[in-house]
Every structure is written in C-alpha cells, then in structure tokens.
Symmetry: C2
Subunit: 397 residues, 2 copies
C-alpha cells in the first residue's frame, strides 16, 4: 500500500507528538529529579478513600458503574459539578454542562464543534501544548499574543481580531496559567470579554488550576462577567484529585454544549462511570474543599521553597514568575539562550524541566524560557535539583 498518495488528512499529517510527553518517556528511564511534571502530588491522592468507595460499589451495586452510561455524564456528579461551577460564577442561566474524559477532551470536542479547516484561534504565548495541538488537528490557524504578568496582551488580541476575519475563539488559561503561573487581572478579563462581544467570537476559558490558590486574593472567572454567553468554560478534577481518572467537564451556552454531547457520543460514548462515581462519592462523603485547601497549602510551601532556592542559586540574568497558585513557575533566560540546549545539559546532571519551545505555536523555533513544576518533587529534591540547575544556568548567564 505504498503508493497511496494521501493517507492522512493534512491537518493530522502535520502534527507532532507532544514534546512534553516525549520528555516524560526519557525521564521515566533515568533517576532524574524532574521539574517537568504537570500533575498534583501523588501522595495527596485520596487513594484509601477510593479503595473503600470502589469496593463498596463493586461489591454491592456494580451494574450501574459497569454498564453504559449517558453521554452527558453521571447525573449526581454532573449536578455537584454544576453547583461547584456556579459557586465560581462560571455556570449561569441558559448554560449546560457535560462531563468529559479529562479537560483535554473538553478542549478537543469544543474545537471539533467550532473549527473548520482555515478557521482561526487566538492563543497565549506561551500556552498549553495539548490545546494548541488539538486546534491544529482540525486545521486551525493559530495566532498568538504575549502573556504578561497580569495576563495576555489585550491590544494584541484586538489587533488580531481586526486583521483576521476567520477567528472563532480566544483560548486562555487566565488563572495560574500553564506554563507561566501568572493570573489575568480583573480589568483584562473584562476587556477581553468586551472584545469577544465586539467581534462576536467565543472565549474558551480553561481553568484547571484555579482552585489551587495559596496566596493573594481570588480573582473572578471571566465567565462570571459574561452576560451574553460568549464564554465556554472548561474545568477538571485532574489537578485537585487525580489526573489518571480522566474526569473533567465543559459548560456554556446550551446549543454549544448540546453539540459537544453529540460529538462526544461518537468519540467515546461516555466517560467511564466508575471513575465519575469515584469523584462523586469522594466529594459527597469526604471534605473535598478541605482537601483542596490542604493541597494548596502544601504547594504554596513548595513554591516558596523553590523560589527561595532559585534566588540563592540562579544567576540574576534568569528571571522568573512568582505564582499565587497552581503548579508552575516560568523562567526566562537571556535572549538567544536555547532552553532545549540547557535541558540537554540539565538532563546530563539528572535534572529535568520543560523547555519553552513546547509551549509555542512554532515548536521548532528556539525559546529562552522554561517551565518548572513544584508540586511533585520532595523538598529535599527541590533543594538539590535547583542547586544543580543553578550551576547549569550559570554557563548560559
């Protein structure tokens, strides 16, 4: 079957496997201090509670957990999720919500219902590669705007909206952004929403980290200011409970969510019911808000330690963000330094991070930024790893 000219659709043929996940494979094989992760600390997963929950379900009433479920999601979890999302101001009248197989599926199916080949999406620079690749897989054009300390550059957004008539939505992670760790100001949230209204495009607000605040004051979701259904909102239990369960959700105006349900039906029929029940029974029977507070406190301690060690050991030419929540710190090296090259040196010293090119629309261009995760590593490894990394960075200062 060699002479088959066009096996793959062009959008898919041009895709590359996530560089982050390729790095993970490398790290798995070595005894490396990894700051490359993007996950909560495994020792904080409520595993014992889930052992009891799954045992109860599978011993006493297994059928409901093991037969097909409805595409919209396990009804009790869907209700709890609506209620929690409403508390964040992110679920309004006329909105609907569907449980998804992780927030990644929320992003991907939203893209599928909205994007045709040649449509445009405004994205943050840097941004989450999984979302960028999803948009690419439907043949979308990506237009990027800078992320500043108080969120994306709104002027750049308007310039792009003026210039390009093909833009369908603006994709943003406004709170504890991945990879920058920064949070968009209220002013910018309102300005962005005004632009979405003015140019009649959607905002896809991706908020996986928003509940993991360990400092500063809560900032309302963009969705909470949305009086005209311009915001589609994606959330997840991956960062507060366990990413491996793959339980997320997407909500927004009913006609959009109804379409997402239809494409989810042909994508995976439904998110596994047992996994949804594990999340629901945990929230119902245990102190989920207390768990989130405890996780946030732990991450805050580790973040503070990491910044303290970075201040001690990093050359002053390396700048970094000071997040008030989430999982990540973003570092910026002097112009011209290539984070991929630095990563090679760091891995030779058994320390890993994620180089900036993987967060860019052009992943082949060199980037002088890199992302550090502080949630997974032990305090001892943070001290040891940051010192090693500091020595590596001095060569590039």
């Amino acid at each position: 079957m060699e002479n088959m000219e066009k096996v793959f659709t062009p959008a898919v043929a041009g895709m590359q496997a996530s560089a982050i996940r390729e790095i993970f494979k490398l790290i798995d094989k070595q005894d490396v201090i990894s700051f490359a992760a993007g996950i909560p600390a495994p020792e904080l997963f409520p595993a014992k509670e889930w052992a009891k929950i799954t045992s109860d379900i599978l011993n006493n009433a297994p059928a409901g957990a093991l037969i097909y479920g409805v595409t919209e999601g396990y009804a009790p979890l869907r209700e709890v999720t609506k209620e929690r999302t409403r508390r964040l101001g992110a679920f309004g009248d006329g909105d609907e919500l569907v449980m998804t197989t992780g927030a990644q599926q929320a992003i991907d199916l939203t893209a599928k219902v909205l994007l045709e080949v040649g449509d445009g999406v405004i994205v943050e620079k840097p941004s989450f590669i999984g979302s960028l690749n999803s948009f690419r897989s439907y043949g979308a054009e990506l237009y990027d705007v800078d992320v500043e300390d108080d969120g994306l550059n709104v002027e750049q957004v308007e310039a792009l909206l003026k210039e390009h008539g093909n833009i369908k939505f603006i994709y943003t992670i406004p709170t504890f952004q991945n990879p920058s760790g920064t949070t968009m100001s209220v002013e910018k949230r309102k300005a962005l929403l005004d632009l979405a209204k003015k140019y009649n495009v959607f905002i896809l607000e991706d908020n996986p980290y928003g509940e993991l605040r360990f400092a500063g004051e809560a900032v309302p979701t963009i969705k909470s200011f949305d009086d005209d259904n311009h915001v589609i909102y994606a959330g997840t239990y991956s960062k507060t409970l366990a990413p491996g369960l793959r339980v997320g959700f997407v909500s927004g105006r009913k006609d959009v969510v109804d379409r997402i349900v239809v494409v989810k039906q042909v994508n995976d029929v439904h998110t596994p019911v047992l996994n949804q029940m594990m999340v629901h029974e945990y929230i119902k029977n245990y102190d989920y808000d207390g768990h989130i507070a405890a996780c946030s406190q732990e991450y805050g301690k580790k973040c503070a330690l990491m910044i303290e060690e970075m201040e001690k050991h990093f050359p002053s030419s390396v700048k970094f963000t000071r997040p008030e929540g989430g999982l990540f710190i973003l570092c910026t090296m002097p112009e011209g330094v290539d984070a991929k090259e630095v990563l090679g040196d760091a891995i030779a010293q058994n320390v890993a991070f994620v180089p900036g090119n993987t967060f860019m629309t052009d992943i082949d261009a060199p980037s002088n930024i890199f992302r550090l995760n502080f949630s997974v590593t032990t305090e001892e490894s943070i001290k040891k790893g940051i010192k090693i990394l500091g020595d590596v960075l001095k060569k590039y200062a």
Copy 2:
C-alpha cells in the same frame, strides 16, 4: 451572540443525537421489557473480582493507577492485547496497537486521521450508528451496500469503488454484525480484501462481538488474510467484560497507529489507567477465556429461546436472522411497514427494540427492519416480551 452566522462546523451542525440512546432514555423511565440493549449481561460482569483488584491497587500501589499514563496504553495490557489479537490472526509484523477509550474511540480516531471533508466511506446497510455518525462528523460521504446472510454484497462494493474516487476505507463488522447478527463468509472476506488492494483503500474491520460465538465454526478475521497492511482492526473488552470501563483498542500498520496516538493525545491524553489495570489484572489472575465461553454459552441459550418464542408468536411474514454468536437478531417486516410506528405500539405495551432507521445512512427514511437483543433480558422476560411483540406485529403482518 445571536447574529453569529456559522457557530458550528457544517459536518457537526448536521449531526443528530443517536436515536438508540434517545430510546434508552425513554426506556429508563418506564418499566419496560427492553430488547433494545447492546450490552453483555450485567450479572456476568466480574464485579467481585474487580472489587478485590481495585482494593489491592488503591490500598497498596495507587500512584501508577491515578497519575497520567502513556497515550499508547498501559504497557502490560497492551502486550496481552497484542497477544490475544495475534491469536486471532489480526496482529501481524509491522503492526502496532494502541489502547482506546472503548472501540468507539478507535473508530472515531481512525476516521479523524483518514477522513477529510468530502472523502467517502463504504458502509454496510444496516450498520452501527455510532460509527456512521463518527464518519459524518468529519464531513465524509457515506455509500452503503446491502448486508446479506453471508455478509456484505461485494459486487456493490466494487461498483462504488469504480464510481467514486474519493473513498478512503470500507467499514465492516464482519462477524455477528450489528445489527444483523450475520457473519461474512471466508470467500467474501478474501474478495473484499482483493478489492481493497485493487482500489488501494483501507478496510476498517470492527470486531467487538467476534469472541462471543455459541454455534458454528470460527471464521478467520479479514485481517488474518491481509498480507499488505490494508486492514485496520478495532477490538474491545466492552462486550466480553464491561462496556462502562471504556477499554478498547485499534491496531494496524504502524504509521496509521502512530498518527492515531498523536490525535488520541489531544483527545483524552490516555485511557484511564485504573480501568486498563482492572482489565489486565482480571485477565492475568482469572480465567478470561473461560469467562468468555461461559458468557457465550449463556447468550446461546437465550438466543435459542428467543428464536423458539419468535417462531411461536411472530407472524410468518416477519423474517429474522439466526446468529451463531454476538448479541443481536435482526427482524424484517413486510415492505412498507415502518419500524418506528411499530415501536410506538410496542412501547405502549412496555416492550422496546431498536427500529431499523437508526442503522441507516438516511435515518429519516422509514425502515421495515428492527433489532432485538437477547443478552440482557431474563428468560422469563424473553418469553413474555416476545409474546407481546408477536401480538403487536400481527397488526402489521
């Protein structure tokens, strides 16, 4: 946001929610004898075994089950699945395999990597609506060919391949087809493969029911005759273990599967690891082949009983298939009778089935066929329900 002209991509805007799943919602609300299901019997799920398995995993070594996994799938299950697929002649040299979130995702992601708007797919008439809707969601043209007692009409396939240059693959469920219950002969399998080679298109062989044989002789998979990588093979643990776990797979030539991995990464990152471990630990520690044999025997008894009752109570003008495995019997009423109308009457008598239009490329056209499931209902309900259905059918004889 009312004046936004084209919110949805045209392919997605034209999709309808699965009529089968809409029927399920109706049935859920009533005390109905349902022959509409498409699932194994819940009392045969190894729930107690999984209670022990999940308890062991979550109490003793939870992290691996709850953190992110690799997109390709949980390695031990992937190996076992390759081995079992190899036993069916369906995994060859140069092939690769990726675990998916149910076989639905295997179908959907295969479609995504192969189909552009305007590409063609040859499908069986009748066929599985979830697959047809997935192909539609990428803007594909569907061309249908009749399913006969020994499988699809091969002459019709060749005529379509001659006429339409846009065809990318032929989609078939060759063994215990859904909804017909029929099995394609070896001769037709070989002829179909020859056509795929001659016209340089893929075959997507969907085999969810193949292991559930309760009569007759095993027929080799189409893939087992494939010496030139024209067959992409989709399988699942949904019909032998539990559909709610959402664990399936797709295998075939490496470059195709590699592309599927890339789009799966942006679709749901990976299939939940705990669910994959549940399947793997069950296969490793218990008698999975014995379980399949026991399920098949049970379904064979129920199928025989249903046919016996149908022969007693159905008017002779209603014809039906006599499957040697799987979960379904297909009934054909006299020309001009509309199964949707009959369903209305049957539901009024608290009996449900799936009307034929839901298995067609044109779901709005009336159809004189309907599908009966025999795996889920008790023997008592089969007797009672078939008698009631026979009385309903007599009005249309």
